[in-house]
Amino acid sequence: MNPSPERALRIVSLYSDVMNVYADRGNLIAVRNRAAERGIPIEIFEVSLGDQLPADADLVLIGGGQDREQHRIADELAAHGRRLREWVEEDAAVLAVCGGFQLFGCWYRDQHGEIVPGIEIFDVTSVAPGPKAPRGVGDVVARSIVGSIGEVVGFENHAGRTYLGPTAAPFATVEHGFGNNGADGTEGAVYRNAIGTYLHGSVLPKNPALLDHLLATALSHRRGEVAVFEPLPAPYADRAHVSAVAAARRRSPAR
């Protein structure tokens, strides 16, 4: 279905009542506020267990959950996989965080060795190494070459190690922190306008460049032409970004 220019920016928030263990609902709060500041009308579709997807979407958000919660949504998410992949191929914007990122990959093997199939938007696979291996926990500073996003900051907390497949590109390069797997210095993944990341924080409130990037790509999708934003100050977000980066540089190992 073609997006029509009259309607509001359509935001689909997936399983926010299940996949919200690290308060990723802050991302939707930030989108709502920034869209209002920029005068962009939006409509929000909350899609949870038992719900249908709407016919189309400009921006899809999904957060992180515990193993149990990932299992809980996996089947229904798989049933929505085809439409979600179509949206991504049509260049809708996506932000998938942590457990949501893992399930937007090819598959996730949990710490009991059970495979949870993903919806194959990102060419990544994730493996939980078992209870003895340390979690990737701590502050992260990373640098993204996507658009003009640049430096991103957040907090990661994941058992799973994510490995990029041959056709995958990382979302960012880790400067401080663990990243996808603690070994190759990559953070997250990007495919077309879909971004997967391990960053909580919540990530969008204190990374206004990433927030504007997602809003701009979502608006471009809605309009069918490239939307370019005028600069718009985000003083509180900028200061929160700077203090989070300072905390990360102080206490997370450099790569």
Partner: protein, 469 residues
């Protein structure tokens, strides 16, 4: 008789405590426990064995300190001699520090045969300590997400509780908040004596499950249905699929009236209804009082003693403590996770008047290094309120952004505690109240400044203060 090794460990711990206090390094209440525990690895067992009336453990994410404090007050009135770790010093080293401070040179605590341990225990540590403490009564309050960077995920804590009770429960009376499904689950599998407590007053229920909820699904994966929600995922729940439902509580809170400075509540135990005026505000304090009443009832304390002790309750360290500074009343409200912050916010919005708030967010190990949790709190509750806000703490900028996104712009953002307190007092009309909302270490910081300015005792001048967390 305490072993020689245990006695040596206690003496070494005491020596360390004396020297840390002399050098002004605060309470010296974790280090003595660490030292003593390093010398005698099973000292916790000796602590329990030296208490003739046994041990009560109080655990759960929120309300441990206040519940243990209220229970100790009831037990004093009932003629017990409670030994308590007063303020969140609830890891093994904190319990041992309590022992070090209380023991004589023979390692013995009891002056009489009425000594009883009232110990708040960290929810993640309890499975390790439970077999050694062998509590007479174990009270479970609730289980919310808290410091996921430190504890791991909520599920692993409830699994730890269940495994612990499968091995050792018959001799312990479990006191359970059955309004929390993950605590009620313990009642279903218990083989020993159980005393349950819960609320029954839909007038104080919330409209919907809030975002800080954690146990919204039954073990078969179906969503719980709530007839009333009192906080987070805590309320009157049932599952339409498997037939599980909240068990009928033995000790029930009814007819709750929440006020700015306290609450009225009727606590029903069997046929007896106790009308209580709690001098501390907030629905969460009603839960704490209910938990303390149920625990005291499990110990055989009479209804009259429970009612009279609760009516004269005071606030424990840093939890709704009040100070007089520069002609203003300052109230300190600890909020260290989203469920706790939500309850503090609800308490502040009980009345309609203008508010002055100092909001302090630290990101130390004891606070949780991940500050994401502020996005789970419903700060939007304040939208449209007349509110003067100052943000402070190590992560003042993160907290300020959270309030701005909820529609409330702070008048200033000052990471330094003294500067922020000055600005907040200046924004508070004379004779009015300043509410300080603070994470754990921020609470310790601001409490120190307030104690100094108001002439109140520092934490190390009262026994066993300052948490080990």
């Amino acid at each position: 008789m305490t072993s020689l090794r245990d006695r040596a460990a206690l003496l070494a711990g005491r020596a360390v405590g004396t020297s840390t206090r002399r050098f002004g390094r605060g309470g010296g209440t974790a280090l003595p426990g660490l030292v003593a525990g390093a010398i005698a690895s099973d000292l916790v067992r000796s602590l329990a064995e030296n208490l003739p009336q046994g041990v009560v453990t109080v655990t759960g994410t929120n309300g441990k300190t206040t519940t243990a404090h209220l229970l100790a007050a009831i037990l004093v009135e009932a003629g017990f001699e409670p030994l308590a770790n007063h303020s969140g010093s609830n890891l093994e080293r904190g319990l041992l520090a309590t022992y070090v401070a209380a023991a004589d040179r023979f390692g013995e605590i009891a002056k009489s045969n009425q000594a009883i341990g009232v110990l708040e225990v960290d929810e993640a540590e309890l499975p390790r300590l439970f077999p050694r403490l062998r509590p007479r009564v174990a009270t479970f309050l609730n289980l919310f997400r808290d410091q996921l960077d430190r504890y791991g995920e909520v599920d692993s804590i409830s699994e730890g509780w269940r495994a612990m009770l499968t091995e050792f429960d018959a001799a312990t009376t479990l006191v359970l908040n059955v309004d929390d499904p993950s605590v009620a689950e313990l009642a279903i599998q218990a083989t020993g004596r159980v005393v349950t407590f819960g609320m029954d007053d839909h007038s104080v229920a919330l409209g919907a499950v809030d975002h800080a909820s954690d146990a919204r699904f039954c073990p078969n994966g179906n969503r719980f249905v709530y007839d009333a929600i009192y906080m987070g995922h805590v309320g009157e729940w049932h599952c339409d699929c498997c037939g599980r439902s909240r068990p009928a509580p033995d000790v029930i809170a009814r007819e709750i009236q929440l006020g700015e400075d306290g609450s009225r509540v009727t606590i029903a135990i069997g046929e007896t209804a106790l009308a209580i005026e709690l001098p501390l505000p907030g629905l969460y304090v009603v839960y704490n009082a209910l938990a303390a009443a149920a625990s005291a009832y499990a110990l055989g304390v009479t209804h009259e003693v429970i009612a009279s002790a609760l009516a004269t309750a005071t606030a424990p360290f840093g939890r709704q403590e009040r100070f007089q500074v520069d002609g203003r009343e300052v109230r300190v409200l600890l909020a260290k996770n989203p469920a706790g912050l939500n309850e503090v916010l609800r308490t502040l919005t009980v009345t309609d008047g203008p508010l002055t708030v100092l909001a302090m967010l630290n990101d130390g190990i004891q606070d949780g290094q991940d500050v994401s949790w502020i996005y789970d709190a419903d700060i939007e509750l304040f939208a449209g309120r007349e509110l003067q806000l100052v943000c402070s703490g190590d992560r003042a900028d993160d907290f300020a952004l959270r309030w701005v996104l909820a529609g409330i712009e702070p008048r200033s953002v000052l990471p330094d505690t003294e500067a922020a307190l000055d600005a907040s007092l200046a924004a508070t009309p004379e004779g009015a109240r300043l509410d300080v909302i603070a994470t754990y270490t921020a609470m310790l910081d601001v409490r120190e400044v307030l104690a100094r300015r108001s002439g109140t005792a520092s934490y190390w001048e009262t026994p066993n203060e300052k948490g080990a967390r």
